[in-house]
């Protein structure tokens, strides 16, 4: 609530330039700082108006809830489509088919789940199989409260399905074993990174690819290594104009231009610099050395979309809850 007041106050204090509020999730802080600066220049050249984009970051679910509760976001850029679906469904601030408004399912860049391990990879973790071995401590947040953790969970499940020839029961066993190796379930991705990096707990952190590389850049390549598994999930963090709010603010046009900018060569370059995998072939080719080849599968292919995945795995009484049910 205090946060909301702060946002409103900071929005109303400065009058003059066109203002946008981009409500995003945790690891995109640095990405959108760059995007905002560059897009402001582009927009100034195009329309002659000054533009000021404010950012708001937090857990993806929490951010979606703030928008539902009245945070005046012109744009949402969240960790998973389900969170924007909920905004469309509960607050009716954008149409149900919002994901068709921009190319590629409204995801200008993609990411995946990789492993951050300690230098030298002392437990020899090369792929998902290694994570279920006894004695390996895996750090990942609770998928019920963290968007990133849901991607990790589904990535492990998808891997197991591929490995055991689509045997759902085997997949459940695999994921159960994996979570039995998790000593601490933090509530968010940043919390898990702290547990792994600062407190030295665990052998491997399941992490967003961009977060893992960011951790390397910031904490030194002499302490950690990134291991990219052979198979992983294609994480598609989507973007959308919150149409009703943008219309009210008179920012529909600039908000759309902002998101279109993410798909341009310049926007894709900024994304790639921040370790988001570009969609544009030209940029992807340029940065191909940066991103290891992974055999990807999507949520739609394997789980039939987010709504189904959410209901089956993460809702109360779902598969994730069964992992911790007594007597197992």
């Amino acid at each position: 609530m205090r946060f909301l007041i702060f946002c409103f106050a900071s929005l109303t204090l400065v009058a003059g330039p066109v203002k946008l509020l981009n409500v995003s999730y945790d690891p995109t802080r640095e990405l959108y700082q760059d995007v905002n600066r560059e897009f402001a220049k582009v927009w100034k050249a195009k329309s002659g108006n000054d533009l000021q984009v404010s950012q708001s970051h937090g857990g993806s679910g929490k951010q979606a809830r703030s928008v539902i509760d009245g945070l005046q976001a012109d744009i949402v850029t969240l960790a998973l489509a389900y969170d924007i679906d909920v905004i469309a469904e509960k607050a009716k601030l954008l149409p149900a088919d919002w994901q068709k408004r921009f190319p590629n399912n409204s995801t200008p860049y993609t990411s995946t789940i990789v492993f951050l391990v300690r230098k030298g990879n002392p437990k020899h973790l090369k792929d998902w199989e290694g994570l279920v071995k006894p004695g390996v401590a895996v750090i990942t947040p609770n998928p019920k409260s963290s968007g990133g953790a849901r991607w990790s969970y589904l990535a492990a499940w998808g891997f197991a399905l591929k490995k055991y020839g689509n045997d759902e029961k085997k997949a459940q066993e695999f994921v159960t074993k994996l979570y039995k190796n998790v000593p601490v379930l933090d509530s968010g991705a940043r919390g898990s990174t702290t547990t792994f990096v600062q407190r030295g707990i665990g052998d491997v952190l399941l992490s967003w690819e961009n977060e893992a590389f960011l951790a390397l850049d910031e904490l030194g390549k002499d302490k950690f290594e990134v291991v990219t598994p052979t198979i992983s999930i294609l994480a598609e963090p989507p973007v959308a104009v919150v149409e009703k709010i943008a219309a009210k603010h008179g920012t529909s046009e600039v908000a759309k231009a902002y998101l279109d900018f993410l798909y341009t060569e310049q926007g894709q370059e900024i994304g790639a610099k921040h370790y988001y995998r570009p969609r544009l072939d030209k940029v992807a080719a340029k940065y191909s050395a940066k991103f290891q080849k992974v055999q990807f599968f999507t949520v739609d292919e394997v789980f039939g979309g987010w709504k189904k995945a959410q209901k089956r795995h993460f809702d109360d009484g779902g598969v994730f809850d069964q992992i911790y049910a007594p007597g197992r």
Binding site: G61, I68, V184, R199, I201
Partner: protein, 281 residues
């Protein structure tokens, strides 16, 4: 005819109505209205749904953990807090003012900071954890860790409620008891303890209530494993993350009701002991 219900207690002090109106207004705005909003939100779910939510195994385990750990932490706060208050009141030593100020620090510290600091102390690689873990005592990510975090938060409440009472108590009473041949233990149990008992109860109630609602420090210390170290406030947050507003408020309503009943009980007990004391004197 029964005499009409007399709401206002006869008092020679003027200004009952303005003061009482203000109290009601304050309680309504700050306490009752927000809390009734919680209750109203939970009304949106059916009784059966409410019941299955609050009796699901994970929720019951969380209640047990939250109330159990808070109770133990409250008791530990009483023991440690009384000792600290005793030292601060009865002894003079160099640096007393600093120690006195340090007691309040947990009030001011963002509890997340406390949680992170405590956790890094007690993990296997931490200073204290490195000594305790080889002995088989695991603190971080266990219920014990939760109790330690909650005690850390609770101690200042006990110190600050007991300290003034102890300072006010008449030391001549103790001298008199000693003159009459009482042993030190008797002086403590028969003279000192009855004087501070009501304030200890108040301190306990405050520490206990604070511990029940504590979130910031515990989530770092507890490891948050479902069924084992997941506290009720965390479950509420998790439910919110899943857009289950009604489920979150259902858990909150049960916690609120249980806390209210327990606090009411403690307050009644406290009033009773105070009255008992007054009669005895």
């Amino acid at each position: 005819m029964v005499t009409s219900f007399q709401f206002k207690r006869p008092s020679i002090l003027p200004g009952f109505w303005p003061a009482f109106s203000y109290t009601t207004l304050y309680l309504s705005l700050i306490v009752l209205i927000p809390l009734s909003a919680v209750f109203l939100k939970s009304v949106s779910m059916s009784w059966a749904h409410f019941w299955t939510t609050v009796t699901s195994p994970a929720v019951v385990a969380a209640y047990r953990l939250s109330f159990g750990a808070s109770l133990v932490a409250g008791l530990m706060s009483v023991v440690a807090g009384f000792l600290i208050a005793w030292v601060l009141v009865r002894y003079d030593f160099y640096g007393k003012a600093v120690v006195d100020a340090l007691v309040d620090l947990p009030f001011a510290l963002p509890t997340a900071v406390a949680g992170i600091a405590l956790t890094s102390l007690y993990t296997e690689k931490g200073v204290l954890g490195a000594m305790l873990v080889p002995l088989g005592i695991k603190v971080a990510f266990t219920p014990l860790g939760i109790i330690i975090a909650l005690t850390f938060i609770g101690i200042p409440f006990v110190v600050r409620t007991v300290q003034p009472v102890l300072a006010d108590s008449d030391q001549e009473l103790e001298d008199a008891a000693a003159n009459l041949g009482a042993t030190r233990w008797q002086i403590f149990t028969r003279v000192i303890f009855p004087i501070v008992r009501p304030s200890l109860l108040t301190g306990f109630a405050l520490a206990f209530a604070r511990a029940l609602g504590e979130y910031g420090s515990v989530i770092f210390m507890s490891g948050n494993m479902p069924m084992k170290t997941e506290i009720a406030p965390l479950l509420i947050v998790t439910k919110l993350e899943q857009y289950d507003y009604a489920g979150a408020t259902a858990i909150a309503v049960v916690m609120l009701t249980a806390s209210f009943v327990m606090l009411l009980g403690i307050n009644t007990l406290q009033r009773y002991t105070r009255r008992f004391m007054e009669n005895a004197q």
